[in-house]
């Protein structure tokens, strides 16, 4: 028996998410019994590095260059899972992982639980694992009947540890089906950590008055190396790009630090950010609901406070 982990390697490189998934797979294998096998599809500079985080071996399907195609990925994962006797498949809860998990579950006739944040445990003739539900407003302990599961791992849920050393890499031997979609173009912002992966996030809302005032937010974010986000009305009115919108109907994030300036803290906004480890709220209204969900609050005019917070961070960095 084994746990098979899909380690994403966008542009040939692993990101933190891949190490998280492998380390989670390692822990799942310890819990359920068996070994952790990592699967890498497409170009990859250093697949063996996954051994450091707990993979006992890596299977590399190197000769696929067709982009993210859920049908192709599910087929490859299904074949490799069969070859290594995998009872559990782990993917990240990323745009790629989420697109694949359900397909693999159907293929393997396995129970699927997405966005898990705990290590699976075999009990009562099944497997139990927890996940957030109702947009982070609660957690559910789920039970999978039988002994096969597909899990997508929530980002930033468990710490990564180095538990081994680089491991052997085997060339995968699979039939690759024809592509069902053709990837024409990928447009991502360069040099910025995408929101779902960001550890530090600086976010602003309607209190900014207009898009022309965002300089102070960008400056704060740049100073600490944070990714910028915004509330929904701000994205809806085109002040900021759609991919920055966080909340129940936007991106759900879980950074270590979330700084919110000029955001009231409506329940739908909180739904996407309330799992952040530390929340700082800057709002001039002492009654703003966001203060109830915050760890630290500053009740003042953001146009005055934000630049001074940036200066304070710069001072700390220089010290």
């Amino acid at each position: 028996m084994s746990v098979l982990v899909l380690a994403e390697s966008p542009k040939g490189k692993f990101k933190k998410a891949a190490y998280e998934a492998v380390h989670y797979g390692h822990k799942a294998a310890q819990s359920l019994g068996g070994e952790c096998v990592a699967l890498v599809i497409g170009a990859c500079d250093d697949p063996g590095a996954l051994g450091t985080y707990g993979a006992s071996k890596v299977i590399h399907v190197a000769d696929y260059a067709g982009g993210i195609d859920a049908l192709v990925y599910a087929s490859i994962i299904g074949q490799v899972a069969g070859q290594v006797g995998a009872k559990a498949v782990v993917v990240n809860h990323s745009s790629t992982g989420k697109s694949i998990a359900g397909r693999v579950g159907v293929k393997m006739d396995a129970g699927v639980v997405s966005q898990v944040n705990s290590v699976p445990v075999a009990e009562d003739g099944g497997i139990t694992v927890t996940k957030p539900v109702f947009s982070g407003k609660a957690f559910a302990k789920c039970k999978i009947a039988g002994d096969k599961c597909v899990l997508s791992l929530m980002g930033n849920a468990l710490p990564i540890e180095e538990v081994g050393s680089p491991c052997a890499v085997e060339a995968g031997s699979v039939d690759i089906p024809a592509n069902s979609v053709t990837v024409k173009e990928t447009k991502t912002v360069d040099g910025e950590v995408p929101l779902p992966e960001a550890e530090l996030v600086v976010s602003a809302g309607r209190g900014m008055k207009g898009p022309e005032n965002w300089g102070i937010i960008d400056e704060l974010a740049k100073t600490i190396g944070a990714t910028t986000a915004c509330s929904r009305p701000v994205a809806d009115t085109g002040w900021r790009p759609h991919h920055e919108h966080v909340g129940q109907t936007g991106v759900a994030i879980r950074p270590n630090l979330y700084i919110a300036a000029g955001i009231s803290g409506a329940i739908q906004h909180l739904a996407g950010v309330n799992s952040s480890k530390c929340i700082v709220v800057i709002n001039k209204d002492p009654e703003a609901p966001f203060f109830k969900a915050a760890d630290y609050g500053v009740c003042a005019d953001l146009f005055d406070v934000v630049p001074r917070l940036t200066e304070a961070f710069k001072k700390m960095k220089d010290a």
């Binding site: 159907v106 407003k137 609660a138 053709t182 991919h243 109907t249 630090l257 109830k292 917070l309 304070a312």
Partner: protein, 246 residues
């Protein structure tokens, strides 16, 4: 074009989240239910636009009990031509997807729409499962789609940007924000919805692989620490030394 839109029911976004029966059941008392926003605002409306452009029919499908007819009628009021309800409790995404696939098989839908996720269980699972059952391509998190009647170009939301893909023939699509503009049903639509067919079909699959054992609420925050606006050095110190996040 023949279009199928999967719609589900979720608690209204401000609903109080509480549990009963020893924290094993969601407490529905006093909770208002709505059509899942991604299904209503984006998936359904984009399907209607395609029909307006190319002709054809839009069918809404829901897996659930008779109480769901309210949200199904709303889909008809917004403009779907007819609807199907698979008469069973929705137990899990695998059981829901298997039933939707059983209905859709051999019906020749050009596009099967789902929402990007249901806002209660946030699974994002059903679309991919339906696609796998039917052996169709799956294009997830679509924020833009052009369709010429036989093939489509879709922008998908990915981490930090978008990916543009081409897909030909039938496929399953999950809708995220931006795919269309929300439509509000008008009086005429609401009247017409009463006469549109809502066909109830028996469930083909009734066993479920996943169930919820218990729920917990997140630990309450320790209370906010207010910082003197004149002293941002203090905030930075606390973030560094106390919260240890920077």
């Amino acid at each position: 074009m023949k279009l199928l839109v999967c719609i589900t029911k979720t608690p209204e976004t401000t609903a109080k989240i509480a549990f009963t029966d020893g924290d094993s059941k969601f407490d529905e008392s006093g909770v208002q239910f709505i059509m899942n926003p991604y299904d209503e605002w984006y998936a359904l409306v984009r399907a209607l636009e395609l029909k307006e452009q190319h002709g054809g029919t839009v069918t809404a499908i829901n897996v659930g009990p008779a109480a769901n007819d309210v949200i199904i009628r709303k889909a008809l009021a917004i403009g779907a031509d007819d609807a199907v309800r698979i008469d069973t409790e929705a137990l899990s995404s695998s059981q829901v997807a298997a039933n939707i696939a059983a209905h859709a098989k051999d019906k020749g839908y050009d596009v099967i729409f789902t929402g990007k996720e249901s806002i209660d269980y946030n699974g994002s699972e059903v679309g991919g499962m339906v696609a796998e059952h039917l052996g169709l391509p799956y294009v997830s998190y679509a924020s833009h789609m052009d369709h010429d009647g036989s093939k489509a170009t879709v922008s998908r939301d990915i981490e930090g940007g978008v990916e543009v893909v081409d897909v030909a023939g039938s496929f399953v699509l999950s809708a995220s924000k931006g795919l269309a503009e929300q439509r509000i049903p008008n009086m005429r639509g609401i009247m017409m919805a009463k006469r549109k067919p809502l066909n109830v079909e028996a469930a083909a699959v009734s066993d479920s692989k996943v169930s919820v054992v218990s729920y917990t609420l997140p630990a309450a925050k320790g209370g906010v620490k207010m910082i003197d606006p004149e002293n941002m050095d203090e905030l930075v110190r606390l973030l560094h030394e106390e919260a240890k996040v920077i």
